[in-house]
Amino acid sequence: MSNAYKIKLLLVDDEVKFLQSIAKRLELKDFEVTTATTGEAAIACAEKGLFDVAVVDFQMPGMDGAQVLKTLKEKHKYLEILMLTGHATVDSAVECTKLGAFQYLEKPYEFEKLVEVITAAYQERLNKKFEHNQKRMDEIQKLSFGSSPLGLLRALSRLDNEEK
């Protein structure tokens, strides 16, 4: 059995049958999949678990995809989000891009294309986290010069609070 890391996906769509089929197909491709059928459930899932990529349907009853995208990006800045829509328009594509979506796919799409985009989104997540960690290391190095241990701890705590 492979010990390779499984990309953690959160799939959000109100069409249950669609969700179940796509979840199963992605599991067969070695993704770790959690599903949610409403925007509110998706946000609650994201609070409980750490996801790498979310795939969100644009049009859902109640809290729609754009609201879910906005809320998830606010609370989980390294979560990459793909938007799926049955009806792509320039306006909705622009809206999603402005809200921070990684990409926007129109249904029905090629499954292999979806897998490719999810993998690219995960890579983007890794790149952003790496950059962040690199900056943090630089900050810590700067702080550590000439600081007492207590002073260093206080500075690190300030750094942590700024990132929240």
Binding site: K17, Q20, S21, G62, H87, K107
Partner: protein, 220 residues
């Protein structure tokens, strides 16, 4: 052609476009489900070919999903066909029950749609001589207003009654907190006027009625 006629034609076109957009979205969702279920069947077949165990229940679920969605697709296309043909005649005999059921079905595709309970009529409702396309528009606009008043988690009730002096009364109840005085909108009033229909709004009981005139009284 005067300004009022132009506005009415614009409204007719806008309504036709809106419904067709909604139907196309529904059909895309159906095709997406069929596509994923077929894709999963394919994946499972490939797994079986490599000698891995495949759960027969999963195969059954996939094929049943495809069958169910094809039926849902046929129903949607049937509704689209009936709706499209409603624009054929400017006036004809319309079965209000069928008209109402069609619009409940089509309005149900909307993401703002809530649960709709249709109470079947207790007595026979006479046919109405009217413009079926515009009657559908009136019903649709009222349903959309009702959905927004209760939210997608809510529920409304729709019923049909035969009225003395009027052919039919379509009754919407269980409406929510949206002030009913906001309805009907100008567009809905214009469409109602074109077929001599009337809205009756009851703010206290949170109900809306559409009075659809008798065969002889309708304008065409």
């Amino acid at each position: 052609m005067n300004g009022a006629d132009t506005n009415q034609i614009k409204e007719d076109l806008a309504f036709f476009g809106k419904i067709n957009a909604s139907i196309s979205h529904e059909l895309k969702n159906i095709l997406a489900i069929i596509s994923e279920a077929a894709g999963l069947l394919n994946d499972l077949t490939e797994m079986a070919a490599t000698g891995k165990d495949v759960d027969p229940e999963m195969l059954k679920t996939c094929s049943q999903d495809i069958i169910d969605e094809i039926q849902r697709g046929f129903t949607t296309i049937r509704q689209m066909n009936i709706f499209s043909h409603s624009a054929d005649d400017p006036a004809k005999e319309v079965n209000p029950t069928d008209c109402l059921k069609l619009m409940i079905g089509l309005a149900g595709f909307l993401s703002v749609a809530c649960q709709i309970r249709f109470d079947p009529p207790k007595t026979d409702i006479p046919m109405v001589y009217t413009n079926p396309f515009r009657l559908q528009n009136l019903i649709y606009q009222t349903l959309v207003f009702a959905f927004k008043s209760v939210g997608p988690e809510g529920a409304i009730t729709v019923s049909l009654h035969s009225e003395k002096g009027d052919a039919a009364r379509i009754h919407f109840s269980g409406l929510g907190s949206e002030p009913l005085r906001l309805f009907p909108y100008e567009r809905a009033s214009m469409v109602a006027g074109s077929i001599n229909a009337e809205f009756q709004i009851d703010d206290n009981n949170q109900t809306i009625d559409i009075m659809v005139p008798q065969l002889e009284k309708a304008m065409h």
